[in-house]
Structure formats: structure tokens, C-alpha cells
């Protein structure tokens, strides 16, 4: 159990350090790069003199750089991410609802794509070399290489052709709901296309990894042992091969949270899903730097936390880490 504790400590420390680096990065990025917000602050026609002064003070620009840095870290850690140029509200107030919307799309899509990837990967590996394997692997590769926004666009065209399927936003505009159920139904109908799009572009890689990792495991000695015990195919796959093949899968899923986020940003843009991705897109157009900065921070922290969870899952699945 001592091994597990030190493993966790190591991962948590790494997560904290990563978040610290991201905050520092954020600080310098938005001060050093050309066209940075401080430079633009004075030229922004949307801001009044009073707002500029408030921001000036908030960024602590009247102080030396190291003090600014400390203030920035303090502000970031206490959730004070500044005030949006565009919304004229604290960034946190704008981003938290957007983050919730993103998670409504992201969490189910991640779960569905992992499940789909595992199932197709196992089937593919077991029937390796057959036409079924070729077909499953082929479609996985095709979806893996497919640009998210392209697949989304195709779905929009098809949905418009069929009619009746919402292709944009999260709720129908101007509808008065008579209860919670119609509201959820409306949400689900809007969720359908973005969810399918994101699930499809994500699952392909999981299929390929699951298949290859299973095929690797099939050559291990303990698979022959299982066979020698009289285990049938089903038992060999699910009891012996699958738990071992899952290990590389979990670490890949952890590494790929960045990709999931990328897919989500692009999906949200195409379907105007009011999440953080769409917010980033709008912020780029309106040059709303506090939002961009805040979005980057929130997304990074989400990814780091998701990674941490994946590490814990990994250690739960692998006794070699659990009992060192």
C-alpha cells in the first residue's frame, strides 16, 4: 500500500505543477506576445475609461512584473479570472455555465466512444485477419482521420434534408416549456447530432488501440496457460486478455483528453453548442482576451483533473501498481 500512496502523491504533485505552469504560461503569454491585451486595452472601443482603469488596476499593471505575477497567481487560484471585454461580466460567471454545457456534450460522448471502441476493438482482434476485422478497422480508421467539423457539416446537410432534426444550439428558441420533461426532450434532440459526431470521431482511435493491445496480449504466455486450463474463447478474451489490454487503453485515453477537447471545440463551433469551445471561437472574433485566457485555464485544469482520474483508474486496474 505504501507504493500506491507514493504513486498517488507523485501524480497529484505533477498535476499541481502542471496547473502552476499553465497559470504562469497564461500570465506571460498574454503579456509577451504581440497584440497582447494590455497593448490593446487602450485601443478597445468597447471599453469606457472607467473600465479600462478598473482592468488596469486588476491586472496590477502599475506594479513590478514579479508582483503582477504573484497577483495573477492569487487571482487565478481564487477564481478571479478578470472581466470579459465583451460580456462585461466576471469571466468565471460567463465560463462556468459554458463549461457545464460542454460537459453535457463531452462526458456522454467520451463514455460512448470508449464503449464503442472497446467493443469493436475486441471483435476486431478476435476475428483478426478476416473480412469483419478489415471492415471494423477500416471504419475506425476512416472516422479517426475524419475532420470533426467536416463530419458535423455533413450531418447538418443530411439532417436539413431529412428535416425536423435540430442542427444548432442547445434549446429551441422562443419555446415555453410546460415542464421539465419537454425541456429535457428538447435538449436531447439538440444533443443528438453533436453527440453522434463527437462519439464517431473519437471512437476510431480507441478501436485501433484496443485491437492492437489485445493482439499483443494474445501472444503472452498466460493466454496459453488459460487455454491449457480448458478456457473457452469467451473466457480467454474477457477474463484473461481484456483486463490486461485495458491498461494501455487507459493510459492512451488519459493522454488523449486533449484530443477530446479539440473534438469538442470543433463540434461546438459547427453546431453552435453554447459550450467553452464556441465561447473560444466567439472570443477570438471579438478579441475578448480575458475569456480566452480563462477558457484555456479552465480547459487545462479540466484535462489535468481528467488525467489524474485516469491515473487512479489505471492503478486500480493494475495490481502491479496497487501492491508494490
Amino acid at each position: 500500500m505504501k507504493g500506491l500512496a507514493s504513486y498517488f502523491t507523485k501524480r497529484v504533485v505533477f498535476a499541481v505543477v502542471t496547473i502552476f505552469i499553465i497559470i504562469s504560461f497564461n500570465f506571460f503569454l498574454f503579456r509577451i506576445l504581440p497584440g497582447n491585451p494590455i497593448e490593446l486595452l487602450y485601443r478597445n472601443p468597447m471599453l469606457t475609461k472607467a473600465q479600462i482603469d478598473a482592468l488596469y488596476h486588476q491586472f496590477g499593471l502599475d506594479k513590478p512584473l514579479w508582483e503582477q505575477f504573484l497577483i495573477y497567481i492569487y487571482n487565478s487560484l481564487t477564481g478571479n479570472l478578470g472581466i470579459s471585454f465583451y460580456y462585461k461580466q466576471p469571466v468565471t460567471n460567463v465560463l462556468i455555465p459554458a463549461l457545464e454545457n460542454s460537459l453535457i456534450l463531452l462526458v456522454p460522448a467520451t463514455i460512448l466512444s470508449i464503449a464503442l471502441g472497446i467493443i469493436t476493438g475486441v471483435v476486431s482482434a478476435w476475428h483478426r485477419g478476416t473480412k469483419l476485422d478489415f471492415a471494423l478497422l477500416g471504419s475506425a480508421l476512416a472516422f479517426y482521420t475524419m475532420p470533426t467539423f467536416w463530419l458535423g457539416s455533413i450531418f447538418i446537410i443530411v439532417a436539413l434534408y431529412i428535416g425536423g432534426i435540430p442542427v444548432s444550439g442547445m434549446y429551441s428558441l422562443g419555446l415555453n416549456y410546460t415542464g421539465i420533461i419537454p425541456r429535457i426532450m428538447d435538449l436531447l434532440s439538440h444533443l443528438m447530432l453533436p453527440l453522434i459526431t463527437l462519439t464517431l470521431v473519437l471512437y476510431g482511435e480507441f478501436t485501433i488501440i484496443m485491437r492492437n493491445s489485445l493482439i499483443d496480449v494474445f501472444t503472452e504466455d498466460y493466454i496459453i496457460t488459460a487455454k491449457a486450463k480448458g478456457a473457452d474463447d469467451k473466457r480467454i478474451i474477457w477474463e484473461h486478455a481484456y483486463p490486461n489490454a485495458l491498461l494501455p487503453m487507459v493510459s492512451i485515453i488519459a493522454i488523449n483528453f486533449g484530443l477530446v477537447v479539440a473534438g469538442a471545440v470543433l463540434t461546438e463551433t459547427v453546431f453552435s453548442w453554447p459550450g467553452i469551445g464556441l465561447m473560444i471561437y466567439d472570443a477570438i472574433i471579438s478579441r475578448d482576451y480575458p475569456i480566452l485566457q480563462g477558457a484555456f485555464l479552465i480547459i487545462s485544469i479540466t484535462v489535468v483533473i481528467a488525467n489524474l482520474i485516469a491515473d487512479f483508474v489505471y492503478s486500480y486496474l493494475d495490481p502491479r501498481i496497487r501492491y508494490k
Binding site: 504466455d221 498466460y222 496457460t225 491449457a228 486450463k229 480448458g230 484473461h240 490486461n244 493494475d318 501492491y323
Partner: protein, 315 residues
Amino acid sequence: MIDINDLFVRYKTENGYANAVDHINLRIEKGIIFGLVGESGSGKTTLGLTLLRILPPSAEIASGSVNIDGTNILRINENEMRKWRGKRISMVFQGAMNSLNPVINIERQVAEPLIIHENIDWEQALKIAREKLALVGLGENTWKRYPHELSGGMKQRVVIAMAIITDPEILIADEPTTALDVVTQDRIMKLIKSLQREYNLTTILISHDLPIVSEVADKIAIMYGGKLSEVGENEQILRNAKHPYTSGLLSSIPEPGSSKEIKGIPGEPISLVNPPKGCRFYNRCQFASEKCKNYDYSPKIVEVGHEVYCTLYGE
């Protein structure tokens, strides 16, 4: 009684077929320890895997039969065969290597054959598994552990417990002591011997190590290049070896107390792919002659129970 007739097993390779078991005839009596000795690449492991029909996909049983108590196990279907594996025939692999599943604990792995073959719940199966683990000398503190927490010798005991849990008739042990230290080797061998006595297990002991095998085996077969070279009772092989290869193997055994240089056999083992006609040992044999090149591997009987495959011994 295991009766192997004209067994021919080959592997598909990039350079053609590798004849791992090349038309072999062998008879293994019930309840004995039968040692199968050869260098790596001699086909001995393939022979073991064939008895369980768990050869890799590249392998092909091209001809022959293996009759166990009157059933040709090469002819029965896969479902039938599964009922033999782990039930009537068990296999002990090199436990020190990766024959144990890293993510399943010891007692569950040992109990699994019962779950597969008997109508039994996990609780009962685990109870029996613990008894067998205790029998092979593993105490309670190891039962719930995972393979990476155990030493090589302990893992070997786990693999043995797993193999005997269903009270099989036949036990195939493939290099059960390789990669273990000398003291542990000795203990594992004693364990196998005592189990064989207690349960009247027909044990096939596969090893590259003739001295170790000769300590426990009743009968010994020597394999070289996919062929048998000599088969006999333990004493006949040790005291009256006829095949130059067997003599070579024996001369590489250091005499107790002697400081004599170990000789070994010069030359490299022959490739199983496209072997030459005639005797496989030809290129390494100091007695090789012209007629060896056309030797058809007809056995020469030295005395009852002792056969040699060599041209040195006349018609």
C-alpha cells in the same frame, strides 16, 4: 497409456516449413515420469503442446495420431478437446516467466480450472485452491497476492497447484525448473516426484537438462532436430547410452567431486527448416559416416525397452 504414432507437426515460416516433430513414434506408460530431453529447437515443447492441442496458429499437425486410453485426441472436435485440457491433461509451464496472469490474484487463478470444468461455485473452488496451494507449500499469506509479488520458485509452485487441482491423469511439465536457482530446482523436482507418487500421475517432464531429468524420470527419450535419437529406461540411458548425441549430453555432466573439464557437444543445433536427408546429427557427430546420409530412422533395439536411432548399431 499414451500412444503416439507417426506424429508430424510443422510450422509455417518465411523460409518454408519447420518440421518440429518429424514422424515420431512414442509410447508412454501410465503412472510413470517420462523425461523428454533435448536442446531448444529440438521439438520437445511442440510435442508437449500437441498433446493438449494448444499449438500456435502457424503450426499444423500434418499427420499421425495420439491415442490416450484408446481415444485419438487429434480427431476429436475442439469442444471435446477443451474438456480434456486442464481436466484430464494439465500442463505446467515455466512459472518464473509470464505464465501467470498479472492482474488476477493467485488463488483465483489456481481455482479457475474447477470453475471451468466442475459444477462448482467460486467459494468452494477457492477453498480447494487454498488446500492445493498449501499442499505445494504456499502459506496463507500468499493466497491473495498477485504474481509480481512472488519469487520465481513460488510462482512455479502456483503453476503446479493450478495444474493438479482437477486431479488430472496426465501432467505435462515444460521446463518447470528453468530460470530457478539450484536449491529451488531441487525442491520443485521433489514436489513433482511426490505428487506423481501420491496421485499416480502420468508425468511428462520436458527439459533441456538431462541430469535434472535423470534424477526423477523412470523413462527418458532424447530428441534432436525434431526426431527421437534414443529412448530407454532411466538406467539404460544413464549407464548404457548408445547414441553419440546422448553420450555427448552425458559427458557434459560434471562428475561429482571431479574437476574434469566439461566437454559439451561442438557445433550448432540443426535448423528444423529444410533439414538434410538422413541423420539430423550428422554434421556434429564424430562417428558420422557415408551411410548416415541416407539413414531412414528405423529404430535399433538395444534391449527390451531401449531403442536407439543410429547407424552405428547394425541390423
